[in-house]
Amino acid sequence: MILVWMIVILLIGGLLCWLTARANEHAAKWVALVTMLIDAALICGVCFTQRVSSINTWIVDIKTQWIPAYGIGFHLAMDGLSMVMLLLTFFLGTLAVLCSWNEIKQRTGFYYFNLLCTLAGIAGVFVAMDLFLFYFFWEVMLVPMYFLIAIWGDTNRRYAAYKFFIFTQAGGLLMLIAILSLYFIHAAQSGVYSYDYFDLLNTTLQPSAARWIMMGFLVAFVIKLPMVPLHNWLPDAHSEAPTAGSLILAGLLLKTGAYGIMRFVLPLFPQAAEAIAWWAMLLAVIGIVYGAMLAFAQTDIKRLIAYTSVSHMGFVLLGIFSFNAVAMQGVVMQMITHGISTGALFVLAGMLKERLHTRDIESMGGLWSSLPAMGAVGMLFTMASLGLPMLGNFIAEFLVLMGAFTANVPLTVIATFGLVFSAIYSLRFVQKVFLGPSTFQKPLPDFSAREFVMMAALSIAIVWLGVYPQPVLDMVQHAVQAVVTK
């Protein structure tokens, strides 16, 4: 029941935020924080009570009927992969609440309601083992996210919010059709009408059918991921969303796409996936290079970071479609470390915006002297983003590339040169923002205690993952093995 509780607590917390904000605007954020902490404590509790390295099965499993007429069940389950993703969700979720603390001054209740609902949807996606339920959560997280962007976003927020919603919805509906097709094929074969993941795993598909159905799933996931050329929603959504929105978008929402591919596409359609692996890897490599080049060209700090996500998620796609354990572990690491590092950069961008009231890096510069702590942290996460060893992203990218190299040499070589591009945009970012002559005369406040706590948590996480990633690798080992051996 613990999984249900996690989601329910988020929803109840969200409603409480909404209600308490009517009495007191400040109460909402405390309620939200407490909710997130409770959930974080829950998942940590699960994490510690289970012997982490020996997770080779589904830890928690809840299965009941939901809509029996269509064979839809309510099935939540968690394995190592889900657990890692949930840890990330609640970690970043807590930070999202914290980083909204002073940024959101209006309509706090509704804001935190939406924030927590988004997180509930994301948490649901990571544990839903019924395809209908998965789709349900998949869509549910969009609506509150849409509100977060459309209400508390920046100047161009409505456009960004539409784009975000429409792109993801388009993919989602195609996935729904694919799910339905799979459902009927399975029903025709076994006579059992079921959307259950474990039932559908036993479906045998004609190659052509498998290809089409897989494409339906894949389109939904690569839009979320995002893969070039379906990435256009991302820069707009990331740059217009409020800080917490960007954090959740980059840190978690993108990961649902990668998670989906790992959880559903590869196990359900192993042959079909293998057949398109080359193309997927090609697009991944294009994404790596293209995202990096666009990131270099941007002048809007959040847009820049957004395009780096495109580039980084290319590694995820590359790793997934190289079908080996090393790369797949790298993918999981990349999901986590990208969530942390890019999330941190977005939080940082939010802090800068709070202080400078601009997102234009051309009008920044020389901030290191006035904000030394922020400069140091900024440097740390830029270095993480360009894949510097000792920091988590390196482990991820190194494993992905090393794994991918065994699968496809030329593409991996190009992808590796993406690291050069990532250095170029990252250093440009640092230089434009923190280095150079100082442009701001009036003194700027460095980290407040709250900001310090957030950044410290993120920094510790990214360094820890870079130096001692083994616990995470162990946790997902069996899940990854299961995916790879399919």
Binding site: W66, I67, P68, A69, Y70, R107, F132, Y135, F136, E139, V140, L142, V143, Y146, F147, A150, I151, R158, A161, Y162, F165, I166, Q169, A170, L173, L174, L176, I177, L180, S181, F184
Partner: protein, 486 residues
């Protein structure tokens, strides 16, 4: 006619007597309030009567009528809609100086027409029901003759509807000439036993389809919809959008079931064609619409297109899906138009999008209800509309109707845009303070809010726990099939 048959017809008799009662009340110079309450009670009485007679179903009243499970579902839905519309009508008409009393006669007559359609199994009863409905509508649309160009709307509807009636009649005549029967079962029997001239039958079906498409406002017979929706008083618009469409769809389903319409290649082609162009046309027309009544008109064109996709397979799953879809669609539109009614002022209907700017912040409940309604129209999970759309896709995919299904998906993505557009208007910043000018009987305000809340609960309830509704429909349909097969 034996007593059981009479008993089966009891709800319809009560419904018919409702108009008479209202006439008598008007003759007795009773106030609007009294008439309203009486009407409400009469509708409740109809529901009670349906509950009372549930055991005698299914029962055929040869040769014209058949009261079975399907009829019960459709009639129940119609009566439910009228109950709600009646409530909304009170606050809508109370504000206007025109005498609203005769309005109730017309609305109950129209309801009776729609109800008769659901139980008719013969051309004559179809014709009578349809005309009862249409003629009431002519008057209803133009009821507030001095505003909103109501007369123009009524005139347009009248000419076009009369023309479509002529087509219907001519089509019926051709079929009658071909088969020698006006009884659905008789026609079916005739078609099976003896060779018939395809030309007459096909032309007849074609002409009848034209009339049906006209009533359902499907492309290319949709042109009246926007003008009439815009010109008619809001409750009447609501009535057209829900009750009249339910009735016509019911008769379409019954006729198709009897003659196995979907087994004819040409019929499938027409229906697919109409469905596709309706989905495309309706959604495209709505994209930039600023008038919310027109927008809902276009959206309903598209939605009826979706409905036809469920109708296409012609099997039990399709009919179930269609019924659920109609249910979801009706309560959604009731809620949406309910809000429009609530916001409509003394002078004009609240049909400009501008009137909704920042509604959520001014009146969170209404804003939330309209938001949920729009999300339901867009087919986003947690709402009834999603389950409806899911059911339709389910039916479509099962029969592998790829083209309509894909078009459905693509057009609903397009459609998402304009729903989101309204939603973001609801949540936009607002400076304008809209004066509250209503001073109504608190009982009715409470009643209206109650109705809206009920709709909200239904929308969400059917979205989260649709099993009850689906099972209900299934149970009723089983009864329905029994009579058709006996």
């Amino acid at each position: 006619m034996d007593s059981l048959q009479l008993q089966a017809l009891l709800p319809f008799i009560v419904l018919a007597s409702a108009s008479v009662v209202i006439i008598l009340l008007i003759a007795a110079r009773q106030s609007h309030t009294v008439i309203q309450i009486t009407g409400f009670l009469m509708m409740c009485l109809v529901v009670l009567a349906m509950w009372y007679v549930r055991d005698v179903l299914p029962r055929a009243i040869m040769p014209l009528l058949v009261v079975d499970g399907m009829a019960a579902v459709f009639t129940g839905l119609i009566v439910f809609c009228v109950l709600i519309i009646g409530l909304f009508s009170f606050i809508y008409f109370e504000e206007r100086e025109e005498n609203p009393k005769e309005y109730y006669i017309l609305i109950f007559l129209g309801t009776l027409g729609a109800a008769v359609l659901t139980i008719s199994r013969h051309f004559i009863s179809v014709f009578i029901g349809l005309e009862l409905l249409s003629i009431s509508l002519y008057a209803l649309i133009a009821y507030l003759r001095n505003r909103n160009n109501a007369v123009e709307a009524g005139m347009k509807y009248l000419v076009l509807a009369a023309m479509s009636s002529a087509f219907l009649l001519f089509g019926m005549a051709l079929i009658y000439m071909d088969t020698g029967s006006m009884d659905f079962d008789g026609i079916a029997k005739q078609l099976q036993t003896q060779g018939h001239s395809p030309a007459l039958f096909v032309t007849g079906i074609g002409l009848m389809m034209v009339a049906v498409c006209f009533k359902l406002a499907l492309v290319p017979f949709h042109l009246w919809a926007a003008d009439v929706y815009q010109g008619a008083p809001v409750p009447v618009t609501n009535f057209i959008a829900t009750v009249s469409k339910i009735g016509v769809f019911a008769v379409l389903v019954r006729f198709a079931q009897a003659v196995q319409l979907q087994s004819y290649h040409f019929a499938v082609i027409i229906i697919s064609f109409v469905a596709i162009v309706s989905m495309v046309g309706g959604n495209l027309l709505a994209i930039k619409q600023q008038n919310i009544k027109r927008l809902l008109a276009y959206s309903s064109i598209a939605h009826l297109g979706y409905l036809l996709v469920a109708f296409l397979p012609g099997n039990a799953a399709g009919i179930e899906a269609g019924m659920f879809y109609l249910f979801a669609y009706s309560i959604t539109l009731l809620a949406a138009f309910g809000i429009v009614t609530m916001l409509s002022g003394r002078q004009a209907d609240a049909d400009q999008l501008e009137a909704y700017r920042g509604l959520y912040w001014r009146n969170p409940l209404m804003g939330a209800i309209l938001t949920v309604a729009l999300l339901s129209l867009a087919g986003i999970p947690l709402t009834a509309g999603f389950i409806g759309k899911f059911a339709v896709l389910n039916a479509g995919v099962q029969q592998q109707l790829w083209l309509p299904v894909i078009v459905l998906v693509i057009t609903s993505v397009i459609g998402l845009y304009y729903y989101l557009r309204i939603i973001s208007t609801l949540f936009a910043e607002t400076q304008v303070i809209f004066p509250k000018e209503k001073s109504l009987h608190p009982l009715f305000v409470a009643g209206t809010y109650g109705a809206l809340l009920v709709l909200l609960i239904l929308l969400l309830g059917a979205g989260i726990f649709p099993s009850a509704v689906i099972d209900g429909i299934k149970n009723f349909l089983c009864q329905g099939f029994r009579i058709i097969n006996f």
